[in-house]
């Protein structure tokens, strides 16, 4: 992606292309996981693509983003190559975390992607720290902090929201509400009727956004970010979305009905943006097919790259425990 200037809007065809890349990447990751090329846990983002695409389209490249463990899409959205992402899943040295992080710990310092964090809600205080640093240095950046609906009942989430409100920090808390924390529905985990009301408890303005609609996500977050840049404050967005797959690769998602899944599939975020663009004469069927073909090729090439990449060397095992210094 090209660097974006303040106030400029990202090209929507480019963002559709990103959403396709995310979907094809996740499909291929699923296949490679089943082929046992990928170890550990692997959480797929399929169905939620419009959330991260809309959010990054609303901010500058130098704004900070940080997320939980369903993080492949956020790394890709921040310009991490499919090669580096797939290689990370394969545990290779060419991965975006040198094969030391794995699926749940993708990082890209250069592009301001601050992880990839696997303990539910433990990164929300980190996000507040990123926002604290922005204000401390009197910069006009904003932090976008993504998390799932499962995070909102964790203590660190509440402590972090209170601190952000107290110190008036420039941060957007983006709750990707996909209705299930692993297998537990929001209804069974949260005492509130709607998640966004959590924000009210901390005097933080909150909004609900349709997470299957790229444009709505982008426009709402752009509006919030513009307000934050004028005068630093936290904000909360509940983005209502849906994951088509289980919580992780090992989850058949038997806690929900086929009908429910089908209902959301009919509202697919990629199909929706494609239809909008086609209707407006900005995208032909041929162009779409070409974008999809390119996404598939990029991902296929990333598998080859990952397979051919070297393992992290054994003799560097102790090199990443302490910075600039020997171990005890």
């Amino acid at each position: 992606m090209t660097a974006m200037q303040p106030g400029e809007q990202r090209d929507e065809v480019e963002m559709l292309s990103l959403m396709l890349l995310i979907r094809r990447f996740e499909e291929r990751a699923s296949q490679q996981y089943q082929a046992q090329k990928i170890g550990g846990f692997c959480h797929l983002y399929i169905g939620q693509e419009a959330v991260v695409a809309g959010a990054v389209a609303a901010v500058r490249d130098d704004d900070y983003i940080i997320t939980a463990y369903r993080d492949h899409a956020h790394a890709l959205a921040r310009g991490t190559s499919a090669n580096a992402c797939m290689a990370e899943l394969f545990g290779k040295e060419t991965g975006c975390s040198r094969g030391l992080g794995g699926s749940m710990h993708f990082f890209n310092r250069q592009n301001h992607m601050y992880g990839g964090h696997a303990i539910v809600a433990a990164h929300v205080p980190l996000a507040v720290g990123l926002a604290f640093a922005i204000k401390y240095r009197d910069e006009d950046r904003v932090t976008l902090c993504f998390f799932g609906d499962g995070a909102i009942n964790q203590g660190s989430f509440h402590e972090a929201l209170n601190l952000a409100a107290l110190y008036k920090l420039p941060i957007v808390f983006i709750c990707e509400n996909n209705l299930f924390a692993m297998g537990t529905s929001v209804k069974r985990s949260t005492s509130l009727k709607q998640i966004v009301d959590r924000a009210e408890g901390y005097d933080i303005p909150g909004e609900i956004v349709d997470g299957m609609n790229f444009r709505e996500v982008r426009d709402k977050i752009a509006e919030i970010v513009s307000s934050i840049r004028k005068e630093s404050h936290p904000a909360f967005v509940e983005v209502q979305t849906y994951r088509y797959r289980g919580h992780s690769m090992s989850d058949p998602a038997s806690y929900r009905t086929k009908q429910e899944l089908e209902k959301y599939r009919l509202d697919d975020p990629i199909t929706r943006l494609r239809a909008q663009l086609t209707r407006e004469g900005k995208l032909t069927h041929e162009q779409f097919d070409l974008l999809d073909k390119r996404a598939k090729e990029t991902v296929l090439a990333s598998v080859k790259f990952a397979e051919e990449s070297p393992q992290p060397p054994l003799d560097k095992l102790y090199d990443y425990t302490y910075a600039n210094g020997a171990n005890s």
């Binding site: 900070y64 940080i66 991965g95 975006c96 975390s97 040198r98 094969g99 030391l100 992080g101 710990h105 990082f107 890209n108 310092r109 601050y114 992880g115 990839g116 964090h117 303990i119 433990a122 990164h123 929300v124 205080p125 980190l126 996000a127 507040v128 720290g129 990123l130 926002a131 604290f132 640093a133 401390y136 203590g155 660190s156 402590e159 972090a160 209170n162 601190l163 107290l166 090199d319 990443y320 425990t321 302490y322 910075a323 600039n324 210094g325 020997a326 171990n327 005890s328």
Partner: protein, 327 residues
């Protein structure tokens, strides 16, 4: 050199590092307007202002995590825990976020953060407020842990910790805040390296290995033993991690008898690690089995007499020394 308290020494270290580096800030409960629960941050708000001396709500997990996040983008936070007993509320941030980030990101994010505050049993605070956390934290790869026992070490180690590019825990000795000692004048830069022990007293018959609150205890015992013609060498570890094996082994090679006096619990305590390393590397130097003196393996009772029974004391230490000396 002039004589100042341990508390003043820490205060000087904070002020000097805040003065030196604009990326350094101090955050914690009551650090600013209240001047610190133990007055370690006395006067700092007035001098450096509310941007850099920051009071927090009672949210240890929240502000410890805030510090780690700020460190990811190059600030150098000093996070004060009112006591390290409360750091357990932030265990996830100190243990799972701060030290793992450098590895998990493939070396992209080091975390230059200092966690500091009083640690170890004080006096009749009961089980929840008496934790000695050094063995918990020292067992975590990616953390560094130091335990100053004197004003000079407190100042020099804290300053070094703030400049380190990794998460460092400065476990201050709660009972020693008012103790006094000689320290270089303020215009003389005092940096004491992490991972360097110091022989606080030379001796030839037995090595007493100690740290933090057990250092003054060991020194007192050494004076008493002198009267009985037992010459004790006092090795103050100063840092638990990295551990100064060389200083330990040198002393063992000199005295051939070892007592470890620690302020934590016996099971998986600091002394267990020191003991293992001695027998592994300098077994032939030993003339007697090593003895550890630690807390009893119980939650701390409130009752004063029982608390005394739980803690290491002079009688227990003298008995241990006599046993290894076959005296």
């Amino acid at each position: 050199m002039r004589e100042i308290t341990y508390r003043q020494a820490l205060n000087e270290a904070l002020a000097e590092e805040l003065e030196r580096d604009p990326n350094v800030f101090l955050m914690g409960e009551e650090v600013a307007e209240y001047n610190g629960a133990y007055k370690v941050s006395q006067g700092l708000l007035e001098r450096f202002g509310p941007r850099r001396i920051i009071d927090t709500p009672i949210s240890e997990n929240g502000f410890a995590g805030l510090g780690v996040g700020a460190a990811m983008v190059g600030l150098r936070p000093i996070i004060e825990f009112m006591t390290f007993s409360f750091s357990l509320v932030a265990f996830d941030q100190v243990v799972n976020n701060a030290p793992n980030m450098f590895t998990m990101s493939g070396g992209q994010f080091n975390i230059p953060i200092t966690f500091r505050g009083p640690n170890g049993p004080a006096h009749q605070l009961g089980a929840t407020h008496s934790h000695a956390t050094e063995n918990l934290y020292a067992s975590v790869p990616g953390l560094k842990v130091c335990t100053p026992a004197t004003p000079r070490d407190a100042k020099g180690l804290l300053k070094t910790a703030v400049r380190d590019n990794n998460p460092v825990l400065v476990l201050e000795a709660e009972l020693l805040y008012s103790s006094k000692g000689m320290v270089e004048p303020p215009d003389e830069e005092l940096l004491i390296p992490l991972g360097k022990a110091e022989v606080k007293r030379e001796g030839s018959d037995v090595s007493i290995i100690c740290y933090a609150q057990t250092v003054p205890l060991a020194l007192k015992v050494a004076a008493q033993l002198e009267e009985e013609d037992i010459s004790a060498e006092i090795v103050d570890l100063r840092s638990i991690k990295p551990l100064d094996e060389k200083a330990i082994f040198d002393s063992v090679a000199k005295t051939h008898r070892v007592v470890i006096v620690e302020q934590d619990h016996p099971f998986c305590g600091v002394g267990a690690e020191v003991c293992y390393r001695i027998q592994k590397s300098v077994f032939d130097e030993l003339d007697a089995p090593i003895i550890r003196v630690s807390q009893e393996d119980v939650p701390m009772p409130y009752n004063e007499r029982l608390e005394r029974a739980v803690l290491p004391n002079a009688d227990k230490l003298i008995a241990a020394v006599k046993k290894v000396c076959y005296a």
